[in-house]
């Protein structure tokens, strides 16, 4: 309990990013509702801008850092040092900016020091407070949940004790009992040059550990950190479709009936484009792709509507069960 009270004192800034505001609205809403039931005090950054993602990163590194730095300074104006960022692409850009800006980092190269001075100068001229100590901490949603596993476990066992009330709704219980997922991490989160490497880059287990706290067992998967083709799906679709198909293939091979992800772009490539994959390769996949926040939310007592399962393009096929698995009662 002490832990929760401490968190209530200082809010955490929440940076959704462009995709979570449009095509991944289900991720946005489910993360927000999940954080609410975990009683984490968070505030969305006001007037946030796009992080520039691949186009900025691939055309000018200063532009990419400056765009993210604006978001960091806006968070600071709200009195927040810690930022949660669910989108992986935004996370990498924000983390790089925080690495360049933070005052306490000494391992920067000459080149990075020069960049820092330039960016600080730019924001000073824009009227931001650059003089005081900068100490930004950027979390991706997986890292944040992994660090707060005890909180999730506590909430889950609290729910179990409330036996008489319906803690998990019927439909949701059926989905959870029939779930045989694999966890797909996507390529860049743990590998990026600028990121906290909180888990093994080649065989990560943090998502599995998080799901274990709510009694969900996931299958072993050999494509955990392969690339899905990312933004090539817009310009060179054949490549993205091929890479995504291989991931779906490997999931079936592992004996799974669903994939759990946390990157909006991976979700889009696997979920929205699954019909395109089927058409292109004459296959017949029908694998629902969930966000980790949706599954955790359901297990902690949120409803279908709270986590927006209806926004998925591949609908989960759920059989009516006579008896629901005891652990979710």
């Amino acid at each position: 309990m002490n832990n929760i009270e401490q968190k209530n004192q200082k809010p955490i800034a929440y940076y959704p990013g462009c995709s979570l505001n449009s095509t991944a609205i289900d991720f946005n809403i489910s993360v927000k509702n999940l954080l609410k039931i975990l009683k984490i005090n968070f505030k969305e950054i006001k007037d946030w801008n796009c992080c520039g993602t691949t186009p900025a990163h691939n055309t000018s590194s200063e532009m990419s850092i400056a765009l993210s730095a604006r978001n960091l300074f806006l968070a600071k104006n709200m009195g927040c040092d810690e930022i949660i960022c669910p989108c992986v692409s935004c996370y990498c850009k924000l983390f790089e900016a925080s690495f360049i800006l933070n005052s306490n980092i000494t391992s920067r190269s000459e080149f990075e020091k020069k960049k820092r001075e330039e960016i600080l100068n730019l924001f000073k001229n824009m009227g931001f407070d650059t003089e005081s100590e900068l100490n930004f901490k950027v979390y991706s949603i997986v890292e944040f949940l992994y660090k707060n596993r005890d909180l999730i476990r506590q909430k889950f066992s609290e729910n179990k004790i409330k036996n008489n009330n319906i803690v998990i709704y019927e439909k949701e219980k059926e989905l959870l009992t029939q779930l045989k997922p694999v966890c797909y991490y996507g390529c860049v989160l743990l590998r990026a040059e600028y990121s906290t490497k909180f888990d093994n880059a080649e065989n990560p287990v943090s998502m599995e550990e998080i799901l274990k706290t709510v009694d969900i067992k996931s299958k072993n998967f050999r494509f955990k950190t392969e690339c899905c083709g990312a933004i090539l799906s817009l310009t060179h679709k054949e490549i993205a479709l091929k890479l995504s198909k291989e991931i779906l293939d490997a999931a079936l091979e592992a004996g799974a009936n669903s994939i759990i992800v946390f990157c909006p772009l991976c979700q889009q490539n696997l979920d929205l484009r699954q019909t395109q994959i089927n058409k292109h390769f004459k296959t017949n996949y029908n694998i629902p792709i969930y966000y980790i926040s949706q599954i955790l939310g359901l297990a902690l007592g949120l409803s279908y509507e709270d986590v927006m399962i209806n926004k998925l393009f591949i609908k989960p096929e759920i059989k009516k069960l006579k008896q629901v698995n005891f652990q979710y009662l």
Binding site: S22, I25, C50, M63, C187, R191
Partner: protein
């Protein structure tokens, strides 16, 4: 001809001084190529890119498709036994090719151009306009028509762009560095 050579030499010098001083540590084991998810469409493989830089043939790299198709998944850098930061080199070459107007793959070039223009105007990305402009410029008019319909049906997209209060700051940043 001479002018061209001079900027290519400068790029190599910059790679050696600021991006990856250890470029000559590469012993061509090919682990980067083995891991790369899109090496099958590359004209030059990641390990060959490193060799080409060593041989001062950056011109050849600019004219091939490899650096533009790279998705920056960073498998190459994280698996390199000699700690050569290949992804950073590829990214730097991409930035330079953009800067010197040598960006070869037109479809990706158009995508970056439109995306940055949209952020400059609105402060945030706005997918409907992005897809329409991209399909128009790339002359792939019915590309992703099915996906667009599906997204509209699920109401997962905003039809009116959100405008930032201080979008001047964002457009200032983009104009300054592009």
């Amino acid at each position: 001809m001479k002018i061209e050579d001079s900027y290519l030499e400068k790029i190599k010098e910059e790679i050696l001084t600021i991006i990856e001083p250890g470029i000559y540590y590469c012993y061509q084991c090919g682990k980067c190529t083995a891991g790369c998810p899109i090496s099958y469409v590359y004209e030059y493989q990641p390990n060959e890119i490193i060799r080409l830089i060593q041989l001062n043939k950056i011109n050849v790299i600019f004219n091939s498709n490899s650096i533009y198709l790279c998705t920056s998944c960073e498998i190459c850098s994280s698996r390199c036994p000699q700690n050569v930061n290949i992804a950073a080199i590829m990214n730097y070459l991409r930035i330079k090719s953009w800067h010197y107007k040598r960006f070869k793959l037109k479809r990706i070039y158009n995508f970056y151009k439109i995306f940055l223009k949209i952020i400059e105007k609105f402060g945030r990305s706005f997918e409907p306009l992005l897809i329409i402009c991209l399909n128009f410029l790339n002359k792939t008019f019915f590309n992703d028509f099915d996906s667009a319909l599906k997204i509209l049906k699920k109401r997962k997209i905003k039809i009116i762009p959100e405008l930032l209060k201080n979008r001047k700051e964002v457009s200032f940043i983009i104009k300054k560095y592009s």
